[in-house]
């Protein structure tokens, strides 16, 4: 039996963007958050080092500088009207979080303390600036907890462990979502005037990743399967400092506090590549420099990793601490407790005594569901889908362009979650409920019946492992045409194998066997779009570095890509069709594209 619910506004996802939207929308609308996890399990909670805003609490700063850094960090593929909103709104949004009780670290005079982060500079690139507001190295955890606490206070409705499978859109009007209650596999229809997607990223298409097991982009795949476009999917960020082999993130805050990269010869190699910002250059650049060192045989022991060195002795020797000042072990233990513990628990290394082996790890999707600056989801280059919104990592506003700056993910989800929540509340006031199609749940039921009945020979885990290996090997930090062609064809072969799935669990109660298989299907669609979009873009820009096209090509590629499924089918199953691409112009206001040097 399909169960029905009706709310003014449904928010899909209980992370930072979803909870910001829920808090603001619930001031005037009847809101429910539908999330496949408990909200406090969301991946916002793993964000470590900080959230940027030009508060100027430590030294002079301005939102224009933050905007400039964001645009340049994104290799000029950023929509500058949106970047201006990001940098301006960040200040209010962070003050608002403090007013909600968020326990930011404090300066001696009681203000929010700030630290340096990659690519954030004073006076348009002159030197690193202290802009990242933080709570030790658990800033995302404190944002997630604070927002969840305020949602409890404001009596926001939650449907926890409800897995959204489909977005109901007909005649370009969103009418709600379809979800499965994980506890008993019942199908639920959520009828709404407005829906905001805040489902986070989909980094589980890669083998070495900082992303949680649950980051599979299900509603993003649903958006695509409904014939709607995905923007800039070729741009995926590889964070330079994942723990070797495991991919667990060690925050850029470490380098903000003075940590540096070291190669096999003991050299601080970033000095050679980026003489001004050095180890605090943006992530895409650091990741490439690490692999340049590895290729030149200067990886540690000739292998495919380098060291990040946090030892106070090293930091003080190279004068890489904030403002060139010396740092102490006590200070680092206080500033970076969690990441020091990660190295101790997972590597058995004490970073106060030994350098830590690191390698780039798949971290963040710059692309996703295209939106305007109020979170309204786009059906094409100009028209919105009525009543449909998106915010956070799943969305592409685009404020990150070709490469996101550190801390700007938290800024993005707070700023645009808030704006999206307000916009949907305003939309809900005069709007009525568009009728639900009678067959709204039929596609979900069909796909889940198919998976549950799977008696084939292919285990989802094996297909997933093959996908992750392929994406890491062929669509990674450095890319080239033949490899990406292999990835596109390879994903299509995996989709064929996906038809022959083997399901063990035929029950109803907490059937994660079926759900993980559905998640894999979502990853297959998103990986195909990612690989195909990357193959199509014949230039190097930001996080998309091609060995066969090594220059940025503004004449041909200073535009966003929009990927649509090429056939006329609209359902909740894995697509089996070509991808149709279009270009969308980049909005340029204050900063003309220039060569990107640090």
């Amino acid at each position: 039996m399909t169960k029905h619910h009706q709310f003014d506004a449904i928010i899909v996802g209980g992370g930072g963007a979803g909870l910001e939207a829920a808090l603001h929308a619930s001031k005037s609308a009847n809101v429910a958050v539908v999330t496949k996890l408990y909200p406090t399990r969301s991946h916002t909670g793993t964000a470590q080092g900080g959230i940027a805003a030009a508060l100027g609490n430590m030294e002079p700063d301005s939102w224009e500088w933050h905007m400039y850094d964001t645009v340049k960090g994104g290799d000029y593929l950023v929509d500058q009207d949106a970047a201006e909103i990001l940098a301006r709104d960040a200040i209010d949004a962070i003050i608002e979080l403090e007013h909600m009780g968020l326990p930011f670290d404090r300066t001696p005079d009681g203000k929010i303390e700030q630290r340096r982060f990659g690519g954030h500079t004073a006076n348009f690139g002159e030197k690193a600036v202290m802009r990242a507001c933080k709570a030790a190295d658990r800033t995302g955890h404190m944002i997630l907890q604070t927002l969840y606490q305020q949602c409890i206070k404001n009596k926001v409705n939650f449907f926890n462990e409800y897995f959204v499978t489909d977005i109901i859109v007909e005649d370009n009007v969103c009418r709600g979502v379809v979800a499965i209650n994980v506890a008993d596999s019942e199908v639920h229809l959520f009828h709404a005037k407005a829906v905001l997607i805040a489902s986070g990223g989909f980094g589980k298409m890669f083998k070495v990743t900082s992303n949680a097991h649950t980051l599979t982009g299900d509603p993003v795949a649903a958006y695509y399967r409904r014939g709607l476009p995905l923007e800039d999917m070729e741009f995926f960020q590889f964070h330079p400092t994942g723990i070797y082999k495991l991919g667990i993130l060690l925050s850029e805050a470490a380098r903000g506090e003075g940590a540096i990269f070291i190669n096999d010869k003991g050299e601080r190699f970033m000095e050679r590549y980026m003489p001004t910002l050095k180890d605090l250059a943006p992530r895409d650049i650091c990741s490439r420099c690490i692999y340049e060192e590895v290729r030149a045989g200067r990886g540690i022991g000739g292998k495919d990793y380098v060291y990040m060195d946090f030892r106070p002795g090293t930091i003080n020797k190279f004068k890489s601490g904030p403002g060139g000042r010396d740092v102490t072990r006590e200070h680092l233990e206080k500033a970076l407790p969690d990441i020091l513990e990660f190295a101790r628990v997972y590597m058995g290394i004490d970073p106060m005594k030994d350098p830590v082996p690191i390698q780039p790890t798949a971290h963040y999707a710059m692309g996703g569901i295209p939106t305007d600056a109020d979170g309204r989801a786009l059906a094409d280059n100009t028209n919105v889908v009525t009543g449909l919104y998106a915010a956070g990592e799943c969305a592409c506003v685009s404020v990150h362009g070709a490469n996101r700056l550190g801390t700007n993910s938290l800024v993005d989800l707070v700023v645009f979650g808030r704006r999206g929540g307000k916009a949907m509340a305003d939309f809900c006031k005069p709007a009525g409920f568009a009728p639900l199609p009678i067959t709204a749940a039929a596609d979900t039921i069909a796909e889940f019946d198919r998976i549950r009945a799977g008696r084939g020979s292919e285990r989802a885990a094996a297909i997933r492992a093959d996908l992750q290996n392929m994406m890491t090997n062929y669509v990674g930090v450095f890319r080239n045409g033949p490899d990406m062609q292999k990835a596109v064809e390879g994903v299509r072969e995996l989709k064929a194998r996906f038809k022959n799935i083997k399901t063990d669990d035929t029950g109803k109660i907490f059937n994660t066997d079926v759900l993980e298989t559905f998640e894999l299907g979502c990853l297959l669609d998103l990986a195909e779009v990612t690989a195909a979009a990357a193959l199509r873009r014949t230039e190097t820009r930001g996080g998309h570095a091609r060995e066969d096209f090594q220059e940025r090509d503004d004449a041909n590629w200073l535009n966003h890509s929009m990927a649509y499924r090429a056939d006329d089918k609209r359902d909740a199953a894995v697509t089996r069709c070509d991808i149709r691409f279009e270009n969308k112009p980049v909005t340029i206001t204050k900063f003309q594209p220039k060569e990107r040097k640090y």
């Binding site: 909670g45 326990p103 606490q149 409890i152 097991h213 063990d504 109660i509």
Partner: protein
């Protein structure tokens, strides 16, 4: 290396009571227990279930009982608990919450206790006129730091003998959350929270067994924080 996993299984659709599932898996000594559980689920028996998400000890999903102790399955390495090839690792659901299936327990009673202590910031006074942050000095910020680390994994509450005896007790996690706000100089609802914790199923149910402190994967001194709440109630002073 090879390890033998002994996992407490229960599927209410099939089983009248729980049973031990036994599995051999090949792992690296530096793998997490969660990796071993995944090998069972992904390659041996897809009906087996455990909650998990971040897999590095931050999201709090995978609290389970490993060799009789409450731990996060993603924060215990095989080499930390196994000496020899073929050794057994026992994994059970955490105690005191109803089992839904295999290692998955019903978290609703846990979150209900959490919500009962007003786990949110309260201050209705006028905001600073300059539109900026409320000021808080470093010492005042430090005063409630420990409690802010809590990830609501339930390792502490489900290791507590008082909670096992009576699940109406709010439990250590809820007290930690209350402490985080009671001792925050910016907050204005300490008295209301203390009143809640002074009730029969409040903080006085704690018998200082210290199980909670030992169980906490975030190394929060839980028993100490509970003691500070008791002291605030006994003395009427929040320090």
């Amino acid at each position: 290396m090879k390890v033998h996993l002994k996992i407490k299984r229960f599927n209410p659709e099939k089983d009248s009571k729980s049973w031990w599932g036994e599995y051999d898996v090949n792992v690296d000594p530096t793998d997490r227990v969660l990796d071993a559980l995944h090998l069972v689920k992904w390659y041996q028996d897809g009906t087996f279930n455990v909650r998990r998400s971040c897999a590095h000890g931050v999201c709090g999903s995978d609290a389970v009982r490993i060799n009789g102790q409450n731990r996060l399955a993603c924060k215990v390495l095989i080499q930390d608990i196994v000496k020899n090839d073929g050794d057994t690792i026992t994994v059970e659901p955490i105690l005191g919450l109803p089992v839904i299936k295999d290692l998955i327990v019903d978290m609703e009673p846990f979150f209900d206790h959490y919500k009962s202590v007003m786990p949110y910031f309260v201050n209705d006074e006028a905001l600073p006129a300059d539109g900026r942050e409320r000021l808080q000095n470093i010492a005042d910020r430090e005063r409630y730091d420990q409690g802010t680390k809590c990830i609501l994994c339930a390792c502490c509450t489900t290791s507590c003998p008082s909670f096992w005896l009576n699940d109406d007790y709010v439990g250590p996690a809820a007290v930690v959350q209350a402490h985080r706000f009671i001792f925050d100089s910016r907050d204005r609802a300490a008295e209301e929270r203390l009143k809640i914790l002074n009730e029969q199923m409040g903080v006085w149910r704690c018998r200082t067994a210290f199980n909670c402190t030992n169980a906490c994967p975030r190394e929060i001194p839980v028993t100490q924080l509970i003691g500070e709440v008791k002291k605030a109630l006994a003395t009427g002073e929040i320090r």
